[in-house]
Amino acid sequence: MALDSHKLMNKMEQRSLFTAEDKTLLQSHADWGREIAPDMAEKFYDYLGRDEEMNAILTEKEGRIHRLRETFIEWFAEMFTGMDNWGGDYADRRWRIGLIHVRIGIDPQHVVPAMATVVREAEKRLIAESKPSELKESLSKICMIDLAFIEQAYVEVSSAAVLRETGWTERLFRRLISTGADSM
C-alpha cells in the first residue's frame, strides 16, 4: 500500500480548506512560530512526561528527549514556513514523521491528544499576544493535516506490513477487514 504522500497532501489541503490565505498568514508569522517553538516543545514534552505510558517511551533511550526537543522545534516552525510552500518536501517530511511513530509503536490514542495539546498551547500564546484569530484557524488546520499524516501512516504502514508478510493483495486484505467487521 505505497501511499503517495504528495497526493495525500493535496487531498488534505482540499478537505481541510487550507487555502492560499492560510499559507500567507502562517508564513508572515514564521518568525513568531520559530520564537515560540522552544516553549511549545517544553509544554509538549511536559505533557507527554505526565502520562506513564508515554513517559516510558520517551525515556526508553538515552538522549531521546533531547533529540526530540530539537526535532519538535523544527517541526513546529515548519508548519509556519511550509518548507517548500507545503509541497512535496513538506509531504515527505510529514510522511516520515508518521512512519517513525508507527515503528516505535505510538498509537492514535497517544498522538491525537498530543496534537490537541499543541493546538491548545499555541492558542494560549496567540491569545496572550493578541495575534489575529485567523492565525489560530490557519494553525489549527495545518496541525490537523499533520495529524492526518501520522494517522494515515499508522493505517498504511500496518497494512503494508501484513501484506508483505502474507502475500495478500490489497483487495483481499480489505475484503477480510469488511467480512471480519461485519461479524463484530
Partner: protein, 123 residues
C-alpha cells in the same frame, strides 16, 4: 471475452455431485472474490472465498520461508472432514470440502481432473 461463469458453475456442480464424499467446492480470485461456488447450505460464500484466498497465499509464503519449495496444496484436516486448497493457475484458487470418509488418493485425482477443466475455461 469474459470468463464463462456459467460453465465454471456447471463444472463445480458436477464435481460436487459426482464425486463421492465431496461436500462443496469454490473457485475464487486471489483477491478473495468468488468466481463460482457450490458450498453446503449455511456457509458464508463471501467469507469462505476471502479466507481461502488468504490461506493459500499465506501457505505459499510460509512454504517459501520454511524452504518447502513450490506449494502444491494446502490441506486442512479437521475431525469433521477436509478442506483442500489448490492454486488454479495465476488467477484463481480452488477450494474443495470433503467428508472424513473420503479416499484421499481419489480425491486428489478428482481435484486434478477438475483443475484441468477449470483452467481450460479460465485461460
Amino acid at each position: 471475452m469474459g470468463i464463462n461463469t456459467e460453465q465454471l458453475s456447471n463444472i463445480l456442480d458436477n464435481f460436487v455431485s459426482s464425486t463421492n464424499d465431496v461436500q462443496g467446492a469454490a473457485l475464487v480470485t486471489p483477491d478473495g472474490l468468488a468466481l463460482a461456488a457450490s458450498l453446503p447450505g449455511g456457509m458464508d460464500e463471501e467469507r469462505v472465498s476471502a479466507m481461502s484466498a488468504a490461506m493459500l497465499s499465506l501457505g505459499e509464503r510460509i512454504g517459501g520461508e520454511l524452504a518447502r519449495g513450490g506449494i502444491e496444496r494446502i490441506y486442512v484436516e479437521g475431525d469433521q472432514g477436509y478442506g483442500v486448497l489448490t492454486s488454479c493457475g495465476e488467477d484463481a484458487v480452488f477450494l474443495v470440502l470433503a467428508s472424513r470418509a473420503v479416499k484421499q488418493g481419489i480425491l486428489m485425482l478428482e481435484i486434478k481432473g477438475a483443475l484441468g477443466e477449470l483452467k481450460s475455461i479460465l485461460i
